[in-house]
Assembly symmetry: C2
Homo-oligomer: 208 residues x 2
Amino acid sequence: MSHTPGVRQAQKQKTRQALLDAALGLLEEQSLSSLGLREVTRAVGVAPTAFYRHFHSTADLGVALVEEALGSLHPMIRTTMAPAEDDDERIARAVELIAGHVAAHPAHVRFVARERHGGVQPVRRAIREQLARFAEEVQAELATDASAAGWSETDLRMLAGLYVDQMLITASLFLETLDAPEDERRRAVETARRQLRLISVGRRHWLD
Amino acid sequence: MSHTPGVRQAQKQKTRQALLDAALGLLEEQSLSSLGLREVTRAVGVAPTAFYRHFHSTADLGVALVEEALGSLHPMIRTTMAPAEDDDERIARAVELIAGHVAAHPAHVRFVARERHGGVQPVRRAIREQLARFAEEVQAELATDASAAGWSETDLRMLAGLYVDQMLITASLFLETLDAPEDERRRAVETARRQLRLISVGRRHWLD
DNA sequence: AATTCCAGAGAACAGTTGTTAACTGCATGG
DNA sequence: CCATGCAGTTAACAACTGTTCTCTGGAATT
């Protein structure tokens, strides 16, 4: 049974969250492999040694950030992949959903895009595992779709992977155009839509 | 007019190249933003101050590495996109070409994948510019293709961007499976082929 | 042959880093 | 109510960082 939370545990979680938030902020203009533990504690206003009460190292903190950035995103998969009247409407909705998420959590998106191929191995692995889970969920969702009749397991997995990668590309494209002029952002949205549409067309004629 | 090279300039270039090589090696297990100038000079066996004779900073060195990694790759575009008998044969050849390049220059590929979204702004911009050039070249190549009749400029650009991103995804996938067991590498190649094939199918039916 | 130039060396600087140890005060469980 | 646990503090360490200034030896220029 979980011990009664108490004031003690609450304060600890609060400090831990402050460390995560501060780190995420500092990571907007550097990579995790250059993030110092003292840098983080200084930003929070806490002694350097307090860091060790929460994380073994900055790499450890990075793994926690991956969980924070991607862990709560899984329920969104069903919503995104859910069927719609029009096929174009589904695409438009998905792109809008990604755009909204990027606007709401830019630092998290930046972190994932940056550290996916970054210099810290445990963090790379954590991201890879989360993305693999996404791919599995997308695959499961695709399998329920009527248009997936006759598709092999391998092809479904291939398509799911393509979708996940495309989501990341789209997200990081939107991130780059966050403070860009309006018309450039509209062009980015349009490009993302058309790319998904092309994949959609390929999907419909795959079994020819 | 360029002054006669002489022994002097030759030695300088040699040291410069040694710095680039050492940096590339050190970047296999960290990001550019955490790469120290002393670290690089130590690896080469040269005084820290010698670094300044060649680069203003490690960011500057990073930009030079981008040039080295991507600059010489442009001629490869025509070869990759050149038409073939079979459409599947063109895809197989392109995938094989990417696989060969990754096997021949893994450190360069890793560097680009890592720093594309990395923590050093000038390097990100340098990579973005090179990739934009690639996209333009791919677009120009696509425009000559017979199957591109009736395509709008916007759609050609969209498709070119999709291809460039897909090349990078494929390259980094191959990089991850470089020391993986044989069957996993074969699966990676197969996945890459099918993804390109799906895009190809979408391309053929785009104007319906 | 004399002079200039310049890649690289050497030493020193102030500031930073991760990690250790011993501590303090307060919420917790008996 | 008292004893324990533990989040966070303080101080100190050796090692490292980027950058500066001064110097040197040999190639390049005249």
